[in-house]
Symmetry: C2
Subunit: 257 residues, 2 copies
DNA sequence: TCAATACGTTTTCTCGAGATTTTTTCTTTG
DNA sequence: CAAAGAAAAAATCTCGAGAAAACGTATTGA
Protein backbone atom coordinates (compact mmCIF):
# COMPACT_ATOMS: atom_id res chain seq x y z
CA UNK A 1 0.00 0.00 0.00
CA UNK A 2 0.92 3.59 -0.18
CA UNK A 3 3.04 4.66 2.67
CA UNK A 4 4.25 8.16 2.39
CA UNK A 5 2.81 9.90 -0.62
CA UNK A 6 -0.63 9.89 0.85
CA UNK A 7 -0.87 13.18 2.60
CA UNK A 8 -0.87 15.34 -0.48
CA UNK A 9 -3.04 13.41 -2.78
CA UNK A 10 -5.87 15.87 -3.12
CA UNK A 11 -5.67 17.04 -6.66
CA UNK A 12 -8.61 19.38 -6.64
CA UNK A 13 -6.98 22.72 -6.17
CA UNK A 14 -9.67 23.95 -3.89
CA UNK A 15 -10.87 27.47 -3.50
CA UNK A 16 -9.19 28.94 -0.50
CA UNK A 17 -8.10 26.50 2.14
CA UNK A 18 -5.51 23.97 1.21
CA UNK A 19 -6.18 20.73 3.01
CA UNK A 20 -3.44 20.60 5.56
CA UNK A 21 -4.94 17.95 7.80
CA UNK A 22 -6.18 14.52 6.95
CA UNK A 23 -9.63 15.49 8.14
CA UNK A 24 -9.83 18.29 5.62
CA UNK A 25 -8.46 16.11 2.88
CA UNK A 26 -11.07 13.46 3.56
CA UNK A 27 -13.68 16.20 3.76
CA UNK A 28 -12.81 17.52 0.32
CA UNK A 29 -12.69 14.09 -1.25
CA UNK A 30 -16.00 13.10 0.29
CA UNK A 31 -17.65 16.32 -0.79
CA UNK A 32 -16.43 15.82 -4.29
CA UNK A 33 -17.69 12.26 -4.41
CA UNK A 34 -21.09 13.31 -3.11
CA UNK A 35 -21.47 16.18 -5.54
CA UNK A 36 -20.31 14.08 -8.46
CA UNK A 37 -22.73 11.37 -7.53
CA UNK A 38 -20.33 8.56 -6.73
CA UNK A 39 -21.96 8.51 -3.34
CA UNK A 40 -25.63 8.44 -4.16
CA UNK A 41 -28.32 10.49 -2.42
CA UNK A 42 -29.71 8.76 0.62
CA UNK A 43 -26.91 6.22 0.68
CA UNK A 44 -25.73 5.03 4.03
CA UNK A 45 -22.20 6.06 4.85
CA UNK A 46 -20.62 3.28 6.86
CA UNK A 47 -17.51 4.41 8.57
CA UNK A 48 -16.02 0.94 8.62
CA UNK A 49 -16.10 0.67 4.85
CA UNK A 50 -15.19 4.23 4.03
CA UNK A 51 -12.18 4.36 6.30
CA UNK A 52 -10.50 1.75 4.16
CA UNK A 53 -11.52 3.40 0.94
CA UNK A 54 -10.16 6.77 1.99
CA UNK A 55 -7.17 5.41 3.89
CA UNK A 56 -7.82 7.25 7.13
CA UNK A 57 -8.74 6.26 10.64
CA UNK A 58 -12.28 5.82 11.78
CA UNK A 59 -12.30 8.89 13.97
CA UNK A 60 -10.82 10.98 11.20
CA UNK A 61 -13.47 9.98 8.73
CA UNK A 62 -16.09 10.59 11.36
CA UNK A 63 -14.92 14.13 11.81
CA UNK A 64 -14.93 14.69 8.08
CA UNK A 65 -18.50 13.52 7.92
CA UNK A 66 -19.54 15.85 10.69
CA UNK A 67 -17.82 18.64 8.84
CA UNK A 68 -19.90 17.79 5.80
CA UNK A 69 -23.03 18.39 7.79
CA UNK A 70 -22.12 22.07 7.57
CA UNK A 71 -22.78 21.94 3.85
CA UNK A 72 -25.95 19.92 4.37
CA UNK A 73 -24.56 17.27 2.10
CA UNK A 74 -24.58 14.70 4.89
CA UNK A 75 -27.27 14.14 7.46
CA UNK A 76 -27.00 12.26 10.73
CA UNK A 77 -29.70 11.22 13.08
CA UNK A 78 -29.01 10.30 16.64
CA UNK A 79 -27.26 7.04 16.92
CA UNK A 80 -28.04 5.72 13.50
CA UNK A 81 -25.01 6.89 11.61
CA UNK A 82 -24.59 9.09 8.60
CA UNK A 83 -26.34 9.28 5.27
CA UNK A 84 -25.84 11.25 2.13
CA UNK A 85 -28.45 13.99 2.07
CA UNK A 86 -31.40 12.83 -0.02
CA UNK A 87 -32.62 14.71 -3.02
CA UNK A 88 -36.08 15.50 -4.26
CA UNK A 89 -37.76 17.80 -6.71
CA UNK A 90 -39.38 19.86 -3.99
CA UNK A 91 -36.03 20.27 -2.31
CA UNK A 92 -34.47 21.55 -5.50
CA UNK A 93 -37.35 23.93 -5.99
CA UNK A 94 -36.66 25.26 -2.52
CA UNK A 95 -32.95 25.52 -3.22
CA UNK A 96 -33.59 27.33 -6.47
CA UNK A 97 -35.99 29.85 -5.01
CA UNK A 98 -33.71 30.59 -2.09
CA UNK A 99 -30.76 30.78 -4.38
CA UNK A 100 -32.50 33.38 -6.51
CA UNK A 101 -33.05 35.47 -3.42
CA UNK A 102 -29.48 35.16 -2.18
CA UNK A 103 -27.68 35.48 -5.48
CA UNK A 104 -29.72 38.48 -6.53
CA UNK A 105 -28.95 40.22 -3.28
CA UNK A 106 -25.29 39.37 -3.71
CA UNK A 107 -25.33 40.71 -7.23
CA UNK A 108 -27.06 43.89 -6.17
CA UNK A 109 -24.51 44.54 -3.47
CA UNK A 110 -21.72 43.68 -5.86
CA UNK A 111 -23.02 46.06 -8.51
CA UNK A 112 -23.41 48.78 -5.94
CA UNK A 113 -20.03 48.38 -4.30
CA UNK A 114 -17.98 47.11 -7.20
CA UNK A 115 -15.00 49.13 -8.29
CA UNK A 116 -13.51 49.54 -11.71
CA UNK A 117 -11.26 46.60 -11.00
CA UNK A 118 -14.33 44.52 -10.38
CA UNK A 119 -15.72 45.54 -13.76
CA UNK A 120 -12.49 44.50 -15.36
CA UNK A 121 -12.51 41.16 -13.58
CA UNK A 122 -16.08 40.56 -14.74
CA UNK A 123 -15.17 41.32 -18.31
CA UNK A 124 -12.13 39.09 -18.13
CA UNK A 125 -14.04 36.19 -16.64
CA UNK A 126 -16.75 36.57 -19.23
CA UNK A 127 -14.21 36.59 -22.00
CA UNK A 128 -12.55 33.42 -20.74
CA UNK A 129 -15.95 31.80 -20.40
CA UNK A 130 -16.92 32.82 -23.92
CA UNK A 131 -13.77 31.26 -25.31
CA UNK A 132 -14.57 28.03 -23.57
CA UNK A 133 -18.14 28.17 -24.81
CA UNK A 134 -17.00 28.58 -28.38
CA UNK A 135 -15.13 25.31 -28.38
CA UNK A 136 -17.42 23.52 -25.98
CA UNK A 137 -18.01 19.90 -26.88
CA UNK A 138 -20.41 18.12 -24.59
CA UNK A 139 -18.99 14.78 -25.53
CA UNK A 140 -15.51 15.54 -24.28
CA UNK A 141 -15.00 15.26 -20.59
CA UNK A 142 -12.11 17.70 -20.34
CA UNK A 143 -13.91 20.32 -22.38
CA UNK A 144 -16.95 20.10 -20.16
CA UNK A 145 -14.88 20.36 -17.00
CA UNK A 146 -13.06 23.33 -18.39
CA UNK A 147 -16.31 25.09 -19.17
CA UNK A 148 -17.69 24.23 -15.76
CA UNK A 149 -14.71 25.74 -14.01
CA UNK A 150 -14.89 28.94 -15.99
CA UNK A 151 -18.63 29.16 -15.49
CA UNK A 152 -18.19 28.86 -11.76
CA UNK A 153 -15.45 31.45 -11.81
CA UNK A 154 -17.58 33.87 -13.81
CA UNK A 155 -20.40 33.68 -11.32
CA UNK A 156 -17.99 33.97 -8.44
CA UNK A 157 -16.40 37.07 -9.88
CA UNK A 158 -19.81 38.60 -10.48
CA UNK A 159 -20.61 38.60 -6.79
CA UNK A 160 -17.06 38.99 -5.58
CA UNK A 161 -17.63 42.64 -4.72
CA UNK A 162 -20.46 41.78 -2.35
CA UNK A 163 -19.16 42.84 1.05
CA UNK A 164 -21.46 40.63 3.07
CA UNK A 165 -19.73 37.53 4.37
CA UNK A 166 -23.02 35.90 5.27
CA UNK A 167 -24.55 36.42 1.87
CA UNK A 168 -21.48 34.92 0.28
CA UNK A 169 -21.56 32.04 2.75
CA UNK A 170 -25.16 31.21 1.95
CA UNK A 171 -24.50 31.57 -1.75
CA UNK A 172 -21.71 29.04 -1.56
CA UNK A 173 -23.86 26.58 0.33
CA UNK A 174 -26.70 26.79 -2.11
CA UNK A 175 -24.40 26.65 -5.09
CA UNK A 176 -22.86 23.42 -3.85
CA UNK A 177 -26.29 21.97 -3.31
CA UNK A 178 -27.42 22.87 -6.79
CA UNK A 179 -24.21 21.46 -8.21
CA UNK A 180 -25.47 18.02 -7.34
CA UNK A 181 -28.70 18.53 -9.22
CA UNK A 182 -27.01 20.20 -12.13
CA UNK A 183 -24.75 17.21 -12.62
CA UNK A 184 -27.82 15.01 -12.65
CA UNK A 185 -29.30 17.20 -15.33
CA UNK A 186 -26.18 17.12 -17.44
CA UNK A 187 -25.71 13.39 -17.20
CA UNK A 188 -29.25 12.54 -18.15
CA UNK A 189 -30.32 15.31 -20.42
CA UNK A 190 -27.31 16.74 -22.16
CA UNK A 191 -29.21 19.27 -24.21
CA UNK A 192 -27.25 22.46 -23.84
CA UNK A 193 -29.33 25.56 -23.91
CA UNK A 194 -28.04 28.84 -25.16
CA UNK A 195 -26.25 29.86 -22.04
CA UNK A 196 -23.93 32.17 -23.90
CA UNK A 197 -26.67 34.67 -24.57
CA UNK A 198 -27.69 34.60 -20.94
CA UNK A 199 -24.14 35.17 -19.80
CA UNK A 200 -23.73 38.00 -22.26
CA UNK A 201 -26.82 39.79 -21.02
CA UNK A 202 -25.78 39.19 -17.44
CA UNK A 203 -22.35 40.60 -18.05
CA UNK A 204 -23.66 43.64 -19.91
CA UNK A 205 -26.25 44.52 -17.31
CA UNK A 206 -23.79 44.09 -14.47
CA UNK A 207 -21.08 46.24 -15.95
CA UNK A 208 -23.73 48.82 -16.89
CA UNK A 209 -24.69 48.85 -13.19
CA UNK A 210 -28.27 48.01 -14.04
CA UNK A 211 -29.06 45.97 -10.97
CA UNK A 212 -32.70 45.33 -11.77
CA UNK A 213 -32.00 44.01 -15.22
CA UNK A 214 -29.02 41.97 -14.05
CA UNK A 215 -31.10 40.35 -11.34
CA UNK A 216 -33.87 39.59 -13.78
CA UNK A 217 -31.44 37.87 -16.09
CA UNK A 218 -29.78 36.03 -13.27
CA UNK A 219 -33.13 34.87 -11.94
CA UNK A 220 -34.08 33.41 -15.25
CA UNK A 221 -30.63 31.91 -15.59
CA UNK A 222 -30.97 30.07 -12.32
CA UNK A 223 -34.53 28.98 -12.92
CA UNK A 224 -33.58 27.44 -16.25
CA UNK A 225 -31.71 24.74 -14.40
CA UNK A 226 -34.83 23.98 -12.41
CA UNK A 227 -36.78 23.61 -15.64
CA UNK A 228 -34.14 21.23 -16.94
CA UNK A 229 -34.51 19.09 -13.86
CA UNK A 230 -38.28 19.21 -14.11
CA UNK A 231 -38.11 17.80 -17.60
CA UNK A 232 -36.22 14.75 -16.42
CA UNK A 233 -38.02 11.47 -15.89
CA UNK A 234 -39.08 11.27 -12.27
CA UNK A 235 -37.13 8.11 -11.76
CA UNK A 236 -33.89 10.02 -12.02
CA UNK A 237 -34.59 12.47 -9.27
CA UNK A 238 -36.80 10.33 -7.11
CA UNK A 239 -35.11 6.99 -6.79
CA UNK A 240 -37.05 4.40 -4.83
CA UNK A 241 -36.67 5.62 -1.32
CA UNK A 242 -34.31 2.97 -0.15
CA UNK A 243 -33.83 3.64 3.47
CA UNK A 244 -30.80 1.69 4.33
CA UNK A 245 -28.22 -0.70 3.19
CA UNK A 246 -28.11 -3.55 0.76
CA UNK A 247 -31.64 -3.95 -0.35
CA UNK A 248 -33.24 -7.06 0.92
CA UNK A 249 -33.39 -9.86 -1.49
CA UNK A 250 -31.02 -9.75 -4.37
CA UNK A 251 -31.30 -6.18 -5.37
CA UNK A 252 -27.88 -5.64 -6.81
CA UNK A 253 -25.95 -3.51 -4.44
CA UNK A 254 -24.34 -1.57 -7.18
CA UNK A 255 -22.41 0.70 -4.92
CA UNK A 256 -19.56 0.93 -7.28
CA UNK A 257 -16.66 2.32 -5.40
CA UNK B 1 -18.85 19.20 39.02
CA UNK B 2 -21.48 17.00 37.64
CA UNK B 3 -20.81 13.32 37.69
CA UNK B 4 -23.70 11.33 36.40
CA UNK B 5 -26.51 13.66 35.45
CA UNK B 6 -24.66 14.70 32.39
CA UNK B 7 -26.71 13.21 29.66
CA UNK B 8 -29.80 15.31 30.16
CA UNK B 9 -28.46 18.49 31.50
CA UNK B 10 -29.36 20.73 28.63
CA UNK B 11 -32.20 22.71 30.06
CA UNK B 12 -32.87 24.75 26.98
CA UNK B 13 -35.71 22.81 25.47
CA UNK B 14 -34.06 22.73 22.15
CA UNK B 15 -35.83 22.77 18.87
CA UNK B 16 -36.07 19.22 17.69
CA UNK B 17 -33.24 16.91 18.53
CA UNK B 18 -32.74 15.74 22.05
CA UNK B 19 -29.12 15.08 22.75
CA UNK B 20 -28.82 11.33 22.66
CA UNK B 21 -25.09 11.08 22.20
CA UNK B 22 -22.32 12.61 24.22
CA UNK B 23 -21.21 14.56 21.20
CA UNK B 24 -24.55 16.27 20.90
CA UNK B 25 -24.70 16.94 24.60
CA UNK B 26 -21.31 18.58 24.53
CA UNK B 27 -22.37 20.47 21.41
CA UNK B 28 -25.42 21.92 23.14
CA UNK B 29 -23.52 22.84 26.27
CA UNK B 30 -20.75 24.47 24.31
CA UNK B 31 -23.17 26.41 22.18
CA UNK B 32 -24.97 27.66 25.22
CA UNK B 33 -21.75 28.73 26.88
CA UNK B 34 -20.64 30.56 23.77
CA UNK B 35 -23.95 32.36 23.28
CA UNK B 36 -24.16 33.31 26.92
CA UNK B 37 -20.66 34.63 26.84
CA UNK B 38 -18.99 32.27 29.27
CA UNK B 39 -16.66 31.44 26.44
CA UNK B 40 -15.59 34.80 25.18
CA UNK B 41 -15.34 35.80 21.53
CA UNK B 42 -11.97 34.99 20.05
CA UNK B 43 -11.00 32.80 22.98
CA UNK B 44 -8.88 29.79 22.24
CA UNK B 45 -10.62 26.50 22.83
CA UNK B 46 -8.04 24.05 24.08
CA UNK B 47 -9.28 20.52 23.83
CA UNK B 48 -7.04 19.31 26.65
CA UNK B 49 -8.61 21.72 29.12
CA UNK B 50 -12.18 21.54 27.93
CA UNK B 51 -12.36 17.78 27.92
CA UNK B 52 -11.99 17.81 31.68
CA UNK B 53 -14.45 20.63 32.13
CA UNK B 54 -17.13 18.90 30.09
CA UNK B 55 -16.30 15.37 31.23
CA UNK B 56 -15.89 13.85 27.79
CA UNK B 57 -13.04 12.39 25.82
CA UNK B 58 -10.79 14.46 23.63
CA UNK B 59 -12.14 13.08 20.38
CA UNK B 60 -15.69 13.62 21.52
CA UNK B 61 -15.11 17.24 22.33
CA UNK B 62 -13.31 17.64 19.05
CA UNK B 63 -16.33 16.41 17.16
CA UNK B 64 -18.60 18.72 19.11
CA UNK B 65 -16.39 21.64 18.16
CA UNK B 66 -16.49 20.70 14.52
CA UNK B 67 -20.23 20.49 14.79
CA UNK B 68 -20.26 24.01 16.13
CA UNK B 69 -18.55 25.22 13.00
CA UNK B 70 -21.89 24.62 11.32
CA UNK B 71 -23.36 27.46 13.32
CA UNK B 72 -20.30 29.62 12.70
CA UNK B 73 -19.88 29.98 16.43
CA UNK B 74 -16.49 28.27 16.30
CA UNK B 75 -13.76 28.76 13.76
CA UNK B 76 -10.80 26.53 13.07
CA UNK B 77 -7.77 27.16 10.96
CA UNK B 78 -5.58 24.42 9.69
CA UNK B 79 -3.53 22.89 12.39
CA UNK B 80 -3.87 25.67 14.89
CA UNK B 81 -6.87 24.48 16.83
CA UNK B 82 -10.25 26.01 17.50
CA UNK B 83 -11.36 29.46 18.55
CA UNK B 84 -14.64 31.01 19.50
CA UNK B 85 -15.83 33.06 16.56
CA UNK B 86 -14.81 36.67 17.10
CA UNK B 87 -17.28 39.49 17.13
CA UNK B 88 -17.16 42.95 15.69
CA UNK B 89 -19.50 45.76 14.91
CA UNK B 90 -19.13 45.30 11.19
CA UNK B 91 -19.93 41.64 11.57
CA UNK B 92 -23.12 42.43 13.44
CA UNK B 93 -24.07 44.96 10.81
CA UNK B 94 -23.67 42.24 8.23
CA UNK B 95 -25.67 39.78 10.31
CA UNK B 96 -28.43 42.33 10.80
CA UNK B 97 -28.71 43.25 7.15
CA UNK B 98 -28.75 39.64 6.05
CA UNK B 99 -31.19 38.79 8.77
CA UNK B 100 -33.56 41.46 7.55
CA UNK B 101 -33.44 39.93 4.11
CA UNK B 102 -34.00 36.38 5.31
CA UNK B 103 -36.62 37.06 7.96
CA UNK B 104 -38.63 39.30 5.69
CA UNK B 105 -38.66 36.65 3.03
CA UNK B 106 -39.67 34.07 5.62
CA UNK B 107 -42.44 36.34 6.85
CA UNK B 108 -43.70 36.99 3.34
CA UNK B 109 -43.88 33.31 2.58
CA UNK B 110 -45.50 32.65 5.92
CA UNK B 111 -48.13 35.32 5.36
CA UNK B 112 -48.79 33.99 1.90
CA UNK B 113 -49.03 30.34 2.83
CA UNK B 114 -50.30 30.61 6.38
CA UNK B 115 -53.61 28.99 7.20
CA UNK B 116 -56.21 30.00 9.71
CA UNK B 117 -54.51 27.82 12.25
CA UNK B 118 -51.34 29.80 11.69
CA UNK B 119 -53.24 33.01 12.36
CA UNK B 120 -54.53 31.55 15.55
CA UNK B 121 -51.08 30.46 16.64
CA UNK B 122 -49.74 33.94 15.94
CA UNK B 123 -52.48 35.51 18.03
CA UNK B 124 -51.88 33.05 20.83
CA UNK B 125 -48.14 33.61 20.86
CA UNK B 126 -48.64 37.36 20.79
CA UNK B 127 -51.05 37.14 23.68
CA UNK B 128 -48.65 35.11 25.76
CA UNK B 129 -45.87 37.52 24.91
CA UNK B 130 -48.01 40.49 25.87
CA UNK B 131 -48.75 38.97 29.23
CA UNK B 132 -45.08 38.51 29.87
CA UNK B 133 -44.39 42.07 28.73
CA UNK B 134 -46.94 43.46 31.16
CA UNK B 135 -45.16 42.08 34.16
CA UNK B 136 -41.68 42.32 32.75
CA UNK B 137 -39.09 43.39 35.30
CA UNK B 138 -35.61 43.76 33.89
CA UNK B 139 -34.09 43.33 37.29
CA UNK B 140 -35.46 39.85 37.80
CA UNK B 141 -33.62 37.08 36.04
CA UNK B 142 -36.53 34.69 35.76
CA UNK B 143 -38.83 37.36 34.41
CA UNK B 144 -36.32 38.27 31.74
CA UNK B 145 -35.77 34.67 30.74
CA UNK B 146 -39.50 34.11 30.55
CA UNK B 147 -39.91 37.09 28.27
CA UNK B 148 -37.00 35.97 26.14
CA UNK B 149 -38.49 32.56 25.62
CA UNK B 150 -41.88 33.92 24.66
CA UNK B 151 -40.30 36.48 22.38
CA UNK B 152 -38.38 33.78 20.58
CA UNK B 153 -41.51 31.67 20.33
CA UNK B 154 -43.51 34.57 18.91
CA UNK B 155 -41.02 35.16 16.16
CA UNK B 156 -40.76 31.46 15.46
CA UNK B 157 -44.50 31.13 15.12
CA UNK B 158 -44.63 34.13 12.82
CA UNK B 159 -42.47 32.42 10.24
CA UNK B 160 -43.59 28.89 11.02
CA UNK B 161 -45.75 28.77 7.91
CA UNK B 162 -42.80 29.45 5.66
CA UNK B 163 -42.44 26.29 3.61
CA UNK B 164 -38.81 26.80 2.67
CA UNK B 165 -36.46 24.68 4.68
CA UNK B 166 -33.44 26.67 3.56
CA UNK B 167 -34.92 30.00 4.52
CA UNK B 168 -35.74 28.64 7.93
CA UNK B 169 -32.27 27.15 8.24
CA UNK B 170 -30.61 30.46 7.47
CA UNK B 171 -32.98 32.26 9.78
CA UNK B 172 -32.00 29.99 12.65
CA UNK B 173 -28.31 30.47 11.99
CA UNK B 174 -28.58 34.23 11.93
CA UNK B 175 -30.82 34.30 14.95
CA UNK B 176 -28.29 32.35 16.98
CA UNK B 177 -25.56 34.68 15.87
CA UNK B 178 -27.53 37.73 16.86
CA UNK B 179 -28.37 36.15 20.19
CA UNK B 180 -24.77 36.60 21.21
CA UNK B 181 -24.84 40.31 20.43
CA UNK B 182 -28.24 40.80 21.98
CA UNK B 183 -27.02 39.38 25.24
CA UNK B 184 -24.13 41.80 25.12
CA UNK B 185 -26.57 44.62 24.63
CA UNK B 186 -28.79 43.55 27.48
CA UNK B 187 -25.96 43.05 29.92
CA UNK B 188 -24.38 46.41 29.28
CA UNK B 189 -27.26 48.65 28.38
CA UNK B 190 -30.46 47.40 29.96
CA UNK B 191 -32.66 50.16 28.64
CA UNK B 192 -35.78 48.47 27.36
CA UNK B 193 -37.36 50.07 24.41
CA UNK B 194 -41.05 49.89 23.70
CA UNK B 195 -41.04 46.52 22.06
CA UNK B 196 -44.69 45.91 22.85
CA UNK B 197 -45.86 48.45 20.31
CA UNK B 198 -43.60 46.90 17.69
CA UNK B 199 -44.88 43.44 18.40
CA UNK B 200 -48.45 44.66 18.26
CA UNK B 201 -47.98 46.25 14.86
CA UNK B 202 -46.16 43.18 13.65
CA UNK B 203 -48.94 40.91 14.80
CA UNK B 204 -51.67 43.08 13.32
CA UNK B 205 -50.02 43.41 9.95
CA UNK B 206 -49.26 39.71 9.75
CA UNK B 207 -52.75 38.54 10.58
CA UNK B 208 -54.14 41.15 8.21
CA UNK B 209 -51.94 39.56 5.52
CA UNK B 210 -50.29 42.88 4.80
CA UNK B 211 -46.86 41.54 3.89
CA UNK B 212 -45.31 44.88 2.99
CA UNK B 213 -46.28 46.54 6.23
CA UNK B 214 -45.33 43.52 8.28
CA UNK B 215 -41.89 43.41 6.69
CA UNK B 216 -41.40 47.11 7.26
CA UNK B 217 -42.21 46.70 10.93
CA UNK B 218 -40.04 43.62 11.21
CA UNK B 219 -37.14 45.38 9.52
CA UNK B 220 -37.27 48.23 11.96
CA UNK B 221 -37.66 45.78 14.80
CA UNK B 222 -34.47 43.97 13.86
CA UNK B 223 -32.50 47.13 13.16
CA UNK B 224 -33.34 48.49 16.59
CA UNK B 225 -31.06 45.88 18.11
CA UNK B 226 -28.26 47.05 15.87
CA UNK B 227 -28.79 50.60 17.08
CA UNK B 228 -28.64 49.37 20.66
CA UNK B 229 -25.31 47.73 19.96
CA UNK B 230 -24.04 50.83 18.20
CA UNK B 231 -24.73 52.90 21.28
CA UNK B 232 -22.53 50.71 23.42
CA UNK B 233 -19.02 51.81 24.27
CA UNK B 234 -16.63 50.34 21.72
CA UNK B 235 -14.70 48.53 24.40
CA UNK B 236 -17.60 46.17 24.92
CA UNK B 237 -17.85 44.93 21.39
CA UNK B 238 -14.22 45.25 20.45
CA UNK B 239 -12.25 43.81 23.32
CA UNK B 240 -8.49 43.99 23.03
CA UNK B 241 -7.66 41.07 20.81
CA UNK B 242 -6.08 38.98 23.49
CA UNK B 243 -5.07 35.68 22.10
CA UNK B 244 -5.20 33.31 24.97
CA UNK B 245 -2.99 32.68 27.87
CA UNK B 246 -1.89 34.46 30.99
CA UNK B 247 -0.68 37.47 29.13
CA UNK B 248 1.39 39.18 31.72
CA UNK B 249 3.58 42.16 31.25
CA UNK B 250 4.57 43.73 27.99
CA UNK B 251 1.37 43.93 26.04
CA UNK B 252 2.92 43.94 22.68
CA UNK B 253 0.24 42.95 20.27
CA UNK B 254 1.78 42.93 16.90
CA UNK B 255 -1.10 41.25 15.19
CA UNK B 256 -1.85 42.63 11.82
CA UNK B 257 -5.59 42.98 12.01
C1' DT C 1 -49.72 -17.90 6.54
C1' DC C 2 -48.88 -14.14 9.58
C1' DA C 3 -47.23 -11.86 13.70
C1' DA C 4 -44.39 -11.37 17.73
C1' DT C 5 -40.16 -12.33 20.21
C1' DA C 6 -35.32 -13.50 21.08
C1' DC C 7 -30.73 -13.98 19.46
C1' DG C 8 -26.49 -13.00 16.71
C1' DT C 9 -24.02 -9.91 13.77
C1' DT C 10 -22.89 -5.54 12.29
C1' DT C 11 -22.19 -0.74 13.09
C1' DT C 12 -21.69 3.11 15.83
C1' DC C 13 -19.89 5.67 19.59
C1' DT C 14 -16.30 6.61 23.03
C1' DC C 15 -11.77 6.64 25.18
C1' DG C 16 -6.69 6.70 25.79
C1' DA C 17 -1.81 6.74 23.79
C1' DG C 18 1.74 8.09 20.20
C1' DA C 19 3.66 11.06 16.27
C1' DT C 20 3.86 16.09 14.14
C1' DT C 21 3.35 20.60 14.37
C1' DT C 22 3.05 25.07 16.63
C1' DT C 23 4.20 28.16 20.28
C1' DT C 24 7.00 29.86 23.90
C1' DT C 25 11.28 30.75 26.12
C1' DC C 26 16.04 31.16 26.62
C1' DT C 27 20.52 31.91 24.90
C1' DT C 28 23.76 34.07 21.88
C1' DT C 29 25.36 37.78 18.88
C1' DG C 30 25.70 42.33 16.36
C1' DC D 1 19.24 47.14 23.53
C1' DA D 2 17.28 44.57 19.79
C1' DA D 3 17.13 40.56 16.86
C1' DA D 4 17.92 35.96 15.22
C1' DG D 5 18.27 31.08 16.23
C1' DA D 6 17.71 26.85 18.73
C1' DA D 7 15.82 23.99 22.24
C1' DA D 8 11.98 22.84 25.30
C1' DA D 9 7.12 22.56 26.16
C1' DA D 10 2.46 22.52 24.97
C1' DA D 11 -1.15 21.51 21.99
C1' DT D 12 -2.98 19.39 18.10
C1' DC D 13 -3.88 15.67 15.07
C1' DT D 14 -4.24 10.72 14.17
C1' DC D 15 -4.86 5.82 15.01
C1' DG D 16 -6.51 1.44 17.07
C1' DA D 17 -9.34 -1.14 20.55
C1' DG D 18 -13.35 -1.81 23.65
C1' DA D 19 -18.46 -0.98 25.18
C1' DA D 20 -23.30 0.20 23.74
C1' DA D 21 -26.84 0.21 20.52
C1' DA D 22 -29.32 -0.97 16.24
C1' DC D 23 -30.35 -3.90 12.40
C1' DG D 24 -31.34 -8.37 10.36
C1' DT D 25 -32.46 -13.12 10.88
C1' DA D 26 -34.33 -17.07 12.70
C1' DT D 27 -37.54 -19.30 15.68
C1' DT D 28 -41.97 -20.11 17.84
C1' DG D 29 -46.83 -19.81 18.48
C1' DA D 30 -51.66 -18.93 16.89
Amino acid sequence: MSETALRKETADGSAVAEPKTLVEAAYHRLRRDIIEGHLKPGEKLRVEHLKDQYDVGAGTLREALQLLMTDALVVAQGQRGFNVAPISLSDFEDITRTRVLIECEALRQSIQRGTDEWEGAVMAAFHRLSRAEERLDWEVESSREDWEGRNKTFHEVLISACPSRWIRHFQLLLYRQSERYRRLSMNNNPIPRDVHAEHLKLCEASVARDADRACAVLTEHIIRTLDAIRSLPPSVIEPPAKVASVGRGKARNGDAQ
